[in-house]
């Protein structure tokens, strides 16, 4: 089967009041052998731009459990204020649950500097997915290692992008925040292209 249907939330260009609407989009799986290693590496470099963007990497902070903050109003990137830790639970259950402020709702995000919200329990990425401050090569090697990517194939990695609503938020963060680069669809295309090319990782 060469075509897979992703039930995607189509992300509107972030106007202040835009709320994401449910829609289904088709994503075409690239044919085996259709992507060269070189093209795969180019795709990866765009994947890395997304993965290392604050909207993504700030919540991929590994065992520390401490999310990061960054953006125009915070100066340099810094640990989440308030001494927040998501703990081993990754949802802050040990201290303050992320959901105390990051409410589960599909109303979108409009108020500047308020806690971002999506329609799932707010949480940190698993500790193995420790990306923050990592190089392109390090993240790439993590992502193709089933031990550290949740036991996923590259197809499953792409599919996973569909399910995680926090991840969708990265492209529509609202409240004046800078979205992750490209779009969710382009990002999925890049992950698929990188996968078909054999998951090549940059050297050095």
């Amino acid at each position: 089967m060469k075509t897979k249907i992703f039930g995607l939330i189509v992300l509107l260009a972030a106007t202040a009041t835009a709320i994401a609407a449910n829609e289904t989009s088709e994503v075409t799986m690239p044919a085996e052998g259709s992507v060269s290693v070189e093209e795969g590496l180019e795709a990866w470099s765009r994947v890395y731009e997304v993965a290392s963007h604050p909207r993504c990497s700030n919540c991929h902070t590994g065992e520390s459990g401490i999310p990061m903050w960054s953006g125009p109003s915070y100066g340099k990137t810094r640990p989440h204020g308030m001494n927040i830790s998501a703990g081993e639970s990754r949802i802050g259950a040990e201290f303050v649950t992320c959901g105390t402020c990051h409410i589960k709702t599909d109303r979108g995000n409009t108020v500047p500097h308020a806690a971002p919200m999506v329609n799932m329990d707010w949480q940190l990425a698993p500790a193995e997915a420790d990306w923050f401050g990592k190089s392109s090569r390090e993240i790439c090697e993590q992502l193709r290692d089933p031990e550290r990517n949740g036991g996923r194939t590259w197809q499953e990695l792409a599919e996973h992008l569909d399910h995680d609503l926090i991840l969708h938020w990265a492209w529509n963060p609202g409240g004046g925040r800078e979205p992750a680069p490209y779009s969710l669809l382009e990002h999925i295309d890049d992950v698929l292209a990188w996968g078909v090319a054999g998951m090549p990782c940059p050297q050095g």
Partner: protein, 746 residues
């Protein structure tokens, strides 16, 4: 009208509790007349025994005219009255009372007069007396300047004693037992036969007799309350969510309003388009007011949503649009023409600095918001013949006068009801919110309008602490600090603040050099010069006012000179200090912190001293330089206050002051871009959070003759002690707040 009230109106008045003399004999005499404001609003069967004690059929109410901003003023004032009145705190209610000249603040003026708190000489006292008269004239019923305790310490106890002795007279009249044989306790007069007459039943009789006007105050050894741990009267309500703050107060038929005011503080509104807001749910009216727009709705959130839907054309700022312009104005103020004061000029600094080895440093302190957690609010109800204002204010008399002026009503028809404040730190010394509520309420006579600021509006219109610059020149010689010359430039806070009240105080603004010029150090060549910078962004008194910036300049520069001298920071301060009680404070903090002991690797300590509001305060800060930045481990504080009225409240206020001083020094500033404050909420104006809070050890010293307030004095030494500790640990001198521009904190 009940008989009692009639009698009370006619006869039973003890006037403005002015102490007229006789102190040497341990007696206090009271001038009678003046006007007891309680009489104007006495209900049936109420009696006013002095303007601080009101008794009715239900019990005893103590009037505590200094606003409770969180500092526990109501409890402390009540305790001072109760000590002499012989009532227990669980027997009384407290009420802030109405605005009245009878409640003027005599202690506030002390800090405004250009004499050092250490100078108890005749001249100083007499000038304070002049200022006192001025304050009385203006009727400044103001809460501020750490004065609630010094101001009330005698007059509240005296008020309690006058009421007690008068009640004893009444009991004597009723029972036939001579006064000398009567005792008092727990709100009752005790007869020799063991029976009791309660104050409540005696009040009607007391109202009919001449009050006792000559009383002796009890010796400290006899005190039941003062100096012992007390339970704050408000602690149960504040732990159960049942305190009505200004923002919580509700009145039948009340509507909810908010405002949008020109973010260029003080500039006009050119125009606005409210078409999108008018049709929003719950919106009842949108009204232009001075410098902005008021939105009235049936719910605060709806008013705020509608306000956000309005577009504005604001007039530009009258002060520099960018920070560069503010700093340039300060830098340009260090010249002969702008000298405001040079009251400290010992030896000859010019000779000192001419001899070489000159050390120079420039320090900067930014604007900082007060940002109490409760945004400012006011409820105003206007009618043809009266106005009512419910608000948490530090200056009810100003509010009353301003509302009278705006409405054309006589001041006696303006009723100001002071509510509990969710913090202030000086913020509620401004009454713009009341004036705006009056403007809005003028559109709907008879309807109470509650105006609530959004956090964002509050933050950008905060009237922040002054911006300031300090320039030090000095020299060490033979291992000692020899020459110290500090210039301080800032705009006049007092002039900015009082300007908004349409009057000016005479003489130089003492706050420009407060916390610096009057420090008790005997440096051979020692000069402090204040330079008045032009008015910039409007500013206001911020917890500890001038000393909040000046102690940073003064003490950090002293630390630099001591370092240059190769001397120990604490030892050299002690050596230089000529004032016994200040030296004891330095010695105490040295002992508490085990100064000189080894703290281990990557750790260090710094000390700082400041006398402000008459309180000598020394603080030692210990820090660790961790991989994640500076961690503040521990703070030791010693403060000389003459008398600690309530050790628990004292401890809590001192710790709070340290947290305030450290937190703002670490990470807070208000900066202007395009004339608008860039910080809008607590995400970019954080202060200290719990995890950053060090352990704090507090000691109150009671060597001084005068009792002092503690709300502000712990603030000034905190920032320099931290900066000095960071230097001792890392070798890095931080000369600019907030410190996180230069170093990370955990």
């Amino acid at each position: 009208m009940g008989r009692v009230a009639k009698i009370a109106r006619r006869t039973f008045l003890v006037g403005a509790v002015a102490i007229a003399g006789g102190v040497a004999f341990g007696y206090y005499m009271y001038r009678r007349p003046a006007r007891n404001p309680l009489l104007d609003n006495l209900a049936e069967d109420e009696v006013a025994l002095t303007e601080y004690v009101r008794i009715d059929g239900d019990g005893i109410t103590l009037i505590t005219p200094r606003t409770d901003l969180g500092q526990g003023a109501y409890s402390i004032q009540a305790a001072l009255i109760a000590e002499e009145l012989d009532v227990e705190l669980d027997q009384v209610k407290v009420d802030p009372g109405p605005p009245s000249p009878a409640y003027y603040n005599t202690a506030l003026s002390e800090e405004g007069a250009p004499f050092r708190s250490t100078d108890e000489g005749f001249m100083a006292e007499s000038v304070r007396g002049v200022m006192d008269a001025l304050m009385k004239f203006m009727g400044m019923q103001v809460t501020g300047g750490s004065t609630s305790v010094p101001d009330g310490y005698q007059k509240l106890r005296v008020a309690g004693a006058v009421a007690r002795e008068t009640l004893k007279q009444a009991a004597s009249q009723k029972s036939g037992v001579p006064v000398e044989q009567l005792k008092t306790a727990r709100g009752a007069v005790q007869l020799p036969d063991g029976s009791e007459l309660t104050y409540v039943e005696l009040a009607p009789i007391a109202a009919g007799i001449d009050p006792v006007t000559r009383v002796a105050l009890r010796e400290p050894a006899e005190w039941r309350l003062i100096g012992k741990p007390m339970q704050r009267l408000d602690i149960l309500a504040k732990s159960t969510g049942t305190t009505d703050y200004g923002i919580d107060f509700q009145i039948d038929g009340m509507v909810h309003a908010t405002v949008k005011i020109n973010p260029h503080q003080g500039s006009e509104l050119n125009g606005f388009d409210a078409s999108a807001a008018e049709s929003m749910r719950g919106v009842k009216g949108i009204y232009p007011i001075k410098g902005g727009v008021g939105v009235v709705a049936d719910n605060t959130w709806r008013a705020m949503q509608a306000a956000n839907a309005i577009t504005f054309d604001w007039a530009p700022a009258k002060y520099p649009e960018q920070m560069d312009g503010h700093w340039e104005a300060l830098a340009n103020s260090f010249n002969e023409e702008q000298i405001e004061s040079r009251d400290r000029d010992d030896g000859d600094v010019e000779i000192g600095v001419a001899e070489g080895n000159l050390i120079e440093a420039e320090y900067r302190v930014p604007y900082v918001a007060h940002a109490p957690l409760e945004p400012i609010t006011a409820i105003v109800k206007l009618e043809d013949d009266r106005a009512d204002v419910w608000t948490a204010t530090q200056m009810p008399r100003f509010v009353q006068n301003n509302v009278a002026k705006m409405t054309g009503l006589e001041t006696e028809n303006v009723h100001v009801h002071v509510l509990m404040a969710g913090g202030s730190f000086g913020h509620r010394l401004e009454d713009e919110v009341v004036k705006q509520a009056v403007e809005i309420a003028g559109n709907m006579k008879g309807t109470p309008v509650k105006l609530t600021y959004s956090r964002e509006e509050d933050m950008i219109h905060d009237f922040p602490r002054q911006i300031a610059m300090g320039r030090g020149r000095g020299r060490a010689r033979d291992g000692k600090v020899d020459t110290f010359d500090l210039g301080i430039a800032m705009p006049s806070v007092i002039s900015s603040q009082m300007g908004r009240q349409d009057f000016s105080l005479p003489g130089p603004d003492s706050q420009i050099v407060a916390g610096a010029w009057e420090q008790p150090f005997a440096i051979p060549n020692y000069r402090v010069t204040g330079y008045r910078a032009p008015e910039l962004a409007p500013v206001s008194s911020w917890r500890s006012v001038g000393a909040s910036s000046n102690a940073f300049f003064h003490d950090c520069f002293l630390d630099e000179l001591i370092h240059a001298a190769g001397a120990d920071p604490l030892e050299e301060r002690i050596r230089l200090c000529w004032h016994d009680n200040s030296r004891k404070v330095l010695e105490a903090v040295g002992e508490m912190s085990d100064w000189g002991s080894d703290l281990g690797e990557n750790r260090g300590r710094g000390v700082a001293f400041c006398m402000s509001f008459g309180v000598s305060t020394a603080e030692v800060v210990e820090v660790t330089n961790t991989e994640d930045g500076i961690k503040i481990d521990k703070v030791y504080v010693a403060a000389e206050v003459g008398r600690v009225v309530d050790p628990i409240n004292f401890d809590n206020l001192v710790k709070g002051g340290v947290v305030w001083g450290l937190g703002h020094a670490m990470n807070c500033e208000i900066t202007y871009s395009e004339g608008k404050a860039e910080q809008t909420n607590f995400h970019d104006f954080e202060g200290m959070r719990l995890y950053q809070c060090p352990e704090i050890e507090v000691r109150g010293l009671e060597n001084g003759d005068k009792i002092r307030g503690i709300g502000e004095p712990p603030v000034p030494p905190a920032a320099p002690a931290l900066a000095n500790a960071i230097f001792a640990t890392t070798g890095q001198r931080i000369r600019e707040m907030p410190f996180n521009k230069h170093i990370d904190f955990v």
